[in-house]
């Protein structure tokens, strides 16, 4: 059955504008591009799944094609949903583990020093490369010891004492890999007289969607919608996330791709720099000391898609002493778990090449970006350290060294 509400492919006027702006089509001839893999082939796929062309697996779901399309075709959504609608599921150990960021994190954070140590060893890398098809060149993010939630528990009381509060969706990365970013969020919001509430949450679903685990993604999504909505309405608070991809999933992938009703959180949910910028505009700017650093800002694809880039830029511009170069918008190539797969590794690096060159030309001391996977990719592929905008803001507030 063709779902009548799902025929945005029919609005396609075959102009090829999407393919011009697709970073993967630019990097490899193996990918025929969004027009062909999206609206063109969808026509055939809905008739017979046998007509599926598996080259669409090259799509990273960066959404740049959708930004370009003059006819508002949901091209990337068409491609993503085809991955699970029409492919016969073959179980892959690697994809299973890459998709389960919360499961992996839960285990790894119990003995993070061991995991961080082993993952760098040659035999381990060799094994991952040969048998798991995870390229040996790929550098892994480090795991932290313990979880962010455990830290937060000790501070819950003082956070609840604030009159104004925000519900913070921290995501897997902050919980398992980078507690400091979570603490920076607390520093910044507290400095603006906003307390931070952490409620029950599951992985937002981005890696699950990318690896075709749609049922699991839906389950997580329903859990998150319910939990965040409840917590927000109890405390009358807005919901914030400091990961551009988590925010994008919660706000846009849930309704558009997973076809779930997220109206209970849609309006209350902000990527964090929008929340901060709106308060800055109303005069709620915390006292800040200078951060005399030369930085290049890279805008992640999903933040571009949400139209949130200007918030981050405006917030960064308020930091005294920060010397900021805005890089021309390019995809870094990693696209979450994509760059962790051997079959796509080369493409991912080629996609990112343009960005890496531009970073080098900007000659910064650090790079700033909103997305954790962009951070991994840039830190692996260039000599520069990458920081989150909220971290830079937190250093301006607490005066510690960046």
């Amino acid at each position: 059955m063709i779902k009548l509400e799902n025929i945005s492919f029919d609005h396609c006027i075959k102009c090829t504008v999407c393919t011009i702006y697709c970073p993967v089509a630019r990097a490899t001839h193996h990918f025929p591009g969004p027009k062909q893999s999206g609206p063109d082939m969808e026509r055939l796929r809905i008739k017979s799944p046998g007509l599926l062309d598996d080259s669409l697996k090259y799509c990273t779901n960066c959404k740049r094609c959708e930004i370009a399309c003059p006819s508002n075709v949901k091209i990337a959504d068409l491609i993503q949903s085809s991955k699970w609608r029409y492919f016969r599921k073959a179980f892959r150990v690697r994809d299973f583990f890459l998709a389960r960021t919360d499961l992996m994190g839960g285990v790894a954070t119990r003995a993070s020093f061991l995991v961080n140590f082993f993952i760098k060893l040659f035999p381990v890398k060799f094994f991952l490369d040969r048998f798991m098809k995870i390229p040996s060149e790929r550098r892994f993010p480090r795991y932290a010891q313990g979880t962010f939630r455990a830290w937060y528990k000790k501070h819950r009381k003082e956070q609840e004492a604030f009159a104004e509060k925000a519900v913070y969706f921290h995501g897997c990365y902050v919980n398992y890999n980078n507690h400091d970013l979570g603490k920076d969020v607390v520093t910044v919001l507290n400095a603006m007289n906003v307390g931070v509430i952490v409620t029950d949450e599951k992985c937002c679903g981005v890696p699950l969607i990318a690896n075709g685990y749609i049922d699991k993604a839906r389950k997580n999504a329903l859990f998150n919608i319910e939990s965040l909505a409840r917590s927000a309405s109890e405390s009358g608070a807005r919901i914030v996330s400091a990961s551009s991809s988590c925010s994008f999933a919660l706000k846009h992938e849930y309704p558009n791709l997973l076809e779930l009703d997220n109206s209970a959180i849609f309006d209350g949910l902000d990527y964090i720099t929008r929340f901060i910028h709106e308060r800055f505009e109303k005069g709620n700017v915390p006292a800040m000391g200078p951060v005399p650093v030369r930085a290049a800002y890279h805008s992640p694809c999903h933040l571009e898609r949400m139209g949130g880039v200007m918030n981050t830029i405006e917030v960064l511009k308020k930091i005294p002493g920060l010397e900021l170069t805005i890089l021309h918008s390019e995809c870094c190539g990693i696209a979450g778990t994509y760059g962790f797969k051997k079959e796509y590794y080369k493409v991912a690096q080629k996609v990112g090449d343009e960005l890496f060159k531009r970073i080098e030309r900007a000659n910064p001391e650090i790079v700033i970006t909103d997305c954790e996977t962009c951070k991994w990719q840039i830190e692996m592929s260039t000599p520069y350290r990458v920081e989150h905008p909220v971290t830079v803001l937190a250093r301006a507030i607490d005066g510690k060294k960046l």
Partner: protein, 429 residues
């Protein structure tokens, strides 16, 4: 979020307006659903090319002087002809800052060759399409070679040559055709018939094949003085590539706009966006304005698809959302409407009068003249007759002109966008 001005639609008109405002220090945001009509255009800016009934306008500004008097509702009439001139040359100077030289034949139109080999009068063209040397070589009736890349399907030189030879201007000019093989042509991964202009431009951008290509062009062109080829010189480095290739071949290299996507149009799009950003403008791509809050004859804020409940506030707004093609106008079975604010639209009540009988009628289709009705300050009326004093409508969204019949699309977009900026700046002073 608050701006001095929010512009809805990032095409030729919206960006011209935004550049002018930002240059004068206004805090501006442009919001645009998708890429604009520039991606489909020739990349030449038409001012006024046809009187109708196939009669060509050679000196557009002179023509406008008398035309305006008898067509008071025409967007050019509402700008005034001296302001149209000011706007166009302002536009040229802005592009010059982004390294695109636009050539004009002083105050006269010149012709550019279309994909089909017909000639179109236009006012501004890029250097690879029109310049003094090209004019002189043409006047001397030098031989032309129309060349194509093997496997490229958006340009057919044989067809172009047939059409050109029908034209009186080319009657005594020798034109040959030929093919060039891209060094990548043998790539088994890729069906060469999937090549689009952008693929060729990208391969070209690497500069790896420049000498090889130059040698091929020289051979294929024989004793011609011109090599006319589908536009392929890339989007950012085209100036350097054009010069290099002319040096290496000793020929005049002439670019012919291809079927969309149009490299020549994308260069202008790229330059305008880059200029707007350099002036501090904020460009929000991939988002659609869905409506706004109106109070006391003013538009107070607009909200977008992605922004949900968080609105964008501004002192002035510009609606430059284009025509049917870009979604600025929407046709339903029995009416034409403006989808964002439900503004009052000029159209025919009777659907059968919307279009002519032929597909390419000489005088253009009537629906091309539909659009949002405004007063002389480009302020529109809401459906219930309320005038919105701080909303300005510009570009292809406007009625009472016919871009196809007149050959005036680019000029109207530029001059009305510029005019709206001037009105906004004057109002703020």
């Amino acid at each position: 979020m608050r701006y001095d001005c929010v512009i809805i639609g990032g095409g030729l008109s919206g960006l011209t307006c935004g550049i002018r405002l930002a240059e004068k220090g206004a805090r501006c945001a442009v919001i645009s659903t998708g890429m604009s009509a520039l991606h489909f255009s020739s990349g030449s800016i038409d001012l006024f090319g046809n009187e109708g009934e196939g009669k060509i306008v050679f000196r557009p500004f002179e023509y406008l002087e008398k035309f305006i008097g008898s067509n008071p509702l025409h967007p050019y009439a509402r700008c005034g002809s001296s302001r149209v001139r000011e706007a166009l040359f302002y536009f040229r100077d802005q592009l010059d800052l982004e390294d695109i030289d636009l050539y004009n034949n002083d105050d006269a139109n010149h012709f550019h060759v279309t994909t089909l080999g017909t000639l179109k009068p236009t006012f501004f063209s890029q250097r690879s399409v029109f310049n003094e040397k090209i004019r002189l070589a043409f006047e001397k009736k030098s031989k032309i070679a129309a060349l194509n890349f093997e496997g490229y399907r958006d340009f057919y030189p044989e067809l172009a040559v047939i059409n050109l030879k029908r034209n009186v201007l080319f009657r005594n000019i020798e034109i040959s055709s030929g093919k060039i093989l891209y060094p990548d042509y043998g790539d088994p991964q890729r069906n060469p018939f999937e090549y689009r202009s952008i693929d060729i431009a990208r391969i070209f951008d690497t500069e790896r094949y420049l000498e090889d290509l130059a040698a091929q062009i020289r051979t294929a062109a024989g004793d011609a003085a011109f090599a006319a080829m589908p536009a392929f010189l890339g989007i950012t480095n085209f100036k350097r590539h054009h010069q290099l290739l002319q040096q290496l071949t000793g020929l005049l290299i002439y670019e012919i706009p291809t079927l969309p996507p149009s490299i020549l149009g994308m260069r202008i799009d790229n330059a305008l966006k880059s200029r707007f950003a350099a002036l501090g403008g904020v460009y929000i791509a991939g988002d659609t304005v869905r409506g706004g809050t109106i109070a006391g004859g003013r538009l107070e804020s607009v909200f977008t698809e992605n922004g949900g409940s968080s609105a964008l506030y501004a002192g002035s707004f510009v609606l430059a959302s284009g025509s049917f093609f870009s979604g600025g106008l929407v046709s339903e079975f029995s009416r034409v409407r403006e989808p964002v604010f439900g503004l009052r639209v000029y159209s025919h009540a009777e659907r059968s009068k919307w279009h002519a009988q032929e597909f390419f009628p000489r005088n253009g289709h009537p629906f091309l003249e539909f659009g949002v009705e405004t007063d002389e300050r480009f302020n529109p009326l809401t459906d219930d007759g309320q005038r919105l004093g701080n909303l300005y409508c510009t570009g292809a969204l406007l009625p009472h002109y016919n871009p196809i019949r007149e050959g005036s699309g680019g000029g109207v977009a530029v001059s009305t966008g510029y005019r709206a900026a001037e009105l906004i700046l004057a109002g703020n002073r």
